[in-house]
């Protein structure tokens, strides 16, 4: 059976359209703020997501964290991350980062064998440190800006570029072909669900604190998302700090100190 038979023209079209949109909204330089023309809709979805989070996701994540011991949860995450290796590898290569591609490949072999199908992560102890890559980041390294900010139902903060990236990453993942071609679509969903619960279980206190200390939770999350993605695209290397455009303010400083 043709492995591509399940890739519907609709999906390809949607991906291409998103990609094109993201590409043409490339801004010059690196703006500190992400544009958010859909803010009213985004805020609405954000509120709905929060409601879902409060009623379902957070309680499930809390239960998961309370019931499943730490090492087991780490193994769940290791296993899922190991499965994602092809996606990371594809993006390493597309970013022409052959060192990273080497690390990703070695990690996959070490963790699949010594790490018993990826349940453990001996590669990190061997100095092969994991770095997450996705097609949104790859586009970022090509100079594609985030486009507009999006809050996706259930999935949460994203951007035009990163949502388009998710579409593309779907096709880098052999498991998706397997699931599609054997009518096991539920596998993909199950994996996404576990990944979501696991990620949420690791951020319970952090998110609570951010919500508690914010005066505009939506704007704070939007800013954190954007800054985090910019940092990931740079792989945390220089320029490590977001640019603070302080030029106008410096003038102000002088005026202010004269006033005082």
């Amino acid at each position: 059976m043709n492995p591509f038979s399940r890739i519907s023209p609709g999906r390809v079209f949607a991906a291409t359209a998103l990609f094109a949109l993201a590409a043409c909204s490339t801004p010059g330089g690196e703006p500190t703020q992400i544009s958010d023309p859909l803010e009213p809709i985004n805020r609405y979805i954000f509120a709905a997501n929060l409601a879902v989070d409060t009623t379902i996701l957070e309680p499930v994540a809390t239960l998961y964290r309370d019931v499943v011991p730490d090492p087991a949860r780490d193994s769940v995450r290791n296993f899922l991350r190991n499965l994602e290796s092809p996606v990371v590898l594809a993006n390493d290569v597309l970013q022409r980062d052959m060192d990273a591609a080497g690390v990703t490949t070695k990690r996959f072999f070490v963790n699949t064998t010594l790490g018993i199908l990826g349940l453990f992560d001996p590669a990190t102890d061997m100095g092969l440190v994991r770095r997450d890559e996705d097609f949104g980041q790859t586009l970022g390294t090509y100079g594609v800006g985030p486009g507009v900010y999006l809050v996706l139902p259930i999935l949460g903060p994203s951007s035009l570029r990163d949502a388009a990236g998710n579409f593309v990453d779907y096709y880098f993942d052999p498991l998706n072909y397997y699931a599609d071609n054997t009518d096991r679509g539920h596998l993909t969903l199950l994996r996404a669900g576990i990944r979501g619960v696991d990620a949420r279980a690791r951020t319970i206190e952090t998110l609570d604190e951010i919500e508690r200390t914010s005066i505009d939770f939506y704007a704070t999350i939007r800013s954190l998302y954007h800054q985090r993605r910019q940092s990931d695209i740079r792989n945390g290397s220089a320029p490590s700090l977001p640019r603070l455009d302080l030029t106008g303010d410096a003038e102000e400083d002088r005026t202010a100190s004269l006033e005082n």
Binding site: E209, I215, D216, S231, G236, S240, D253
Partner: protein, 201 residues
């Protein structure tokens, strides 16, 4: 004229080197400043050592010692600083201090009791950026960059960047959003900050 040239060259070289040495010394001092302040901050934040108010008070002291709160407040207000009246500015300064103490205690609190080690530093415009790591057992270290400005006096921190996320930039984005949503009026932000500080007491 020709004979003067080596002299000039020597002068230029000497000046360059001594400026370099001074800059290096300043950078080392700045690293030292962050190392000691960072360690003290993480110790102050240790949860079980004291009550929440005691912790906040101790942290507030450290914050006013090590951070240029006035400048941070001004940058966080961004372009709206210009629009604020003198009364608004002074009320904002007071409210902002409460806000930043609570925010920092909450967001940095999860690293309490860990150790901070300074990795490197580099000049950036008029500031020095000190890169450090919070070292945690059995987990990958967390990268924290400090933007330190040395004005006329002591060096002061103006931004803390945790894993590429700037506290100052986050606050600026948040404040801008609140102000925009109240029709571009700074009063809208002051009202929210007042509510917040009232709720905390």
């Amino acid at each position: 004229m020709m004979r003067l040239r080596p002299f000039f060259l020597a002068l230029v070289l000497a000046t360059t080197f001594s400026i370099g040495a001074v800059a290096q010394k300043a950078q080392a001092d700045t690293e030292e400043f962050i190392a000691s302040l960072g360690d003290r901050a993480l110790q102050v934040l240790v949860v079980d050592s004291q009550s929440e108010t005691e912790r906040e008070d101790a942290f507030r002291e450290l914050l006013s010692e090590g951070f240029d709160l006035r400048l941070i407040g001004r940058y966080a207000l961004g372009r709206y600083w210009r629009r604020a009246t003198a009364e608004q500015r002074s009320e904002y300064a007071k409210l902002f201090e409460d806000f930043i103490v609570e925010t920092y205690v909450a967001r940095l609190g999860e690293y309490s009791g860990e150790t901070l080690s300074v990795v490197s530093s580099r000049p950036d415009d008029q500031d020095t950026i000190v890169t450090s790591e919070i070292v945690r057992e059995g987990r990958p270290p967390i990268r924290v960059d400090w933007r330190v400005r040395r004005g006329e006096g002591e060096p002061k921190i103006i931004d803390v960047v945790v894993e590429g996320v700037s506290m100052l930039l986050t606050q600026r984005d948040e404040f801008a959003s609140v102000i925009q949503r109240s029709g571009g009026n700074v009063e809208g932000l002051l009202a929210r900050l007042r509510e917040k500080s009232g709720a905390a007491e």
